[in-house]
Symmetry: C2
Subunit: 180 residues, 2 copies
């Protein structure tokens, strides 16, 4: 750990459904201490599904944390902290989109919000899709919305798509593959 800042205590403050919340006591180089928040998340995976015509298959779903619908790429948390990201991404792709892909390509690794949380998302590109069947979790209600990359870039720069993994994945796809 860094010399300037040291964690001297960690207490579990709340055990949630997908996160655990800790209160950390941090000590700084001059000796003073402060209480910092730390949120543990087991990790997640996401996938950018590219249809044969080049459109990207987005999912529209209700997000209670924002009290509104969002347009996102398919994603979900790991079944187990040790699950490989690619296995999770493959499952979420099939469950949410009804497509499979045997050649998921690693695109990005993201940390969603580093100031207080360790959530890590592995993001893959799925460029060779084959039809399967959508089968959602009991708590999921999801609409599929195919969009062109041009439409998605417009929505990002207009502030209509804000989800960080989705913004990063779409822009990474545009930059890495030179896609228009």
């Amino acid at each position: 750990m860094a010399d300037e800042i040291k964690r001297i205590d960690r207490k579990l403050a709340y055990k949630g459904a997908v996160i655990n919340v800790y209160q950390d006591t941090m000590q700084f180089a001059d000796g003073h201490t402060a209480q910092w928040d730390f949120i543990h998340h087991d990790g997640a995976a996401a996938v950018l599904p590219v249809l044969p015509d080049g459109r990207i298959l987005m999912v529209r779903q209700y997000r209670p944390a924002l009290d509104r619908y969002t347009l996102e790429i398919p994603a979900g948390k790991l079944d187990d902290p040790k699950e490989a990201g690619i296995v999770c991404a493959s499952r979420e792709l099939e469950e949410e989109s009804g497509y499979r892909c045997d050649h998921l390509e690693p695109l990005l690794v993201l940390r969603t919000t580093v100031a207080f949380c360790n959530e890590r998302i592995e993001v893959f590109a799925a460029r060779e899709l084959t039809s399967s069947r959508q089968h959602l979790d009991a708590d999921e209600s999801i609409d599929l919305v195919p969009c062109t990359l041009a439409e998605l870039k417009e929505k990002i720069f207009a502030g209509e798509i804000e989800d960080s993994k989705t913004v990063a994945a779409i822009l990474a796809y545009a930059v890495k593959y030179g896609a228009k």
Copy 2:
């Protein structure tokens, strides 16, 4: 709120330093209920500082949530939930980088992790920098690292830069301004 899913209760579970954690009781269309996590964050702002030679001024800092150093764009939380993002971004730019910019350009709005948190980050591009003086908060220890866009893209695709606001901002700058 969506028909398929309804919040029927919200309890404050933990009051943290920068977040508040709530336990929500959600009810689904078939009547069953589930406990979901909700984390309230007051919001933040970030800025991508472009030096006159085209390099981007990154900050290297220790992040206890990851137990390691990260390379990020300057950012910080709003002083008050009602503070304008551009005011916060301008302050964080000067404090962390020692540069000022009188013409911050809106680049992105991000939600860091929409499944359980409402944190919102307004991201600006700062392309006309003038020298000022770095003045860090007591708890901050930050090194400045100027990087070319090519170096940053390489680090993103090599998984060396993972912070979602930073990845999204750099790629957005490359796409929006056609920067190489």
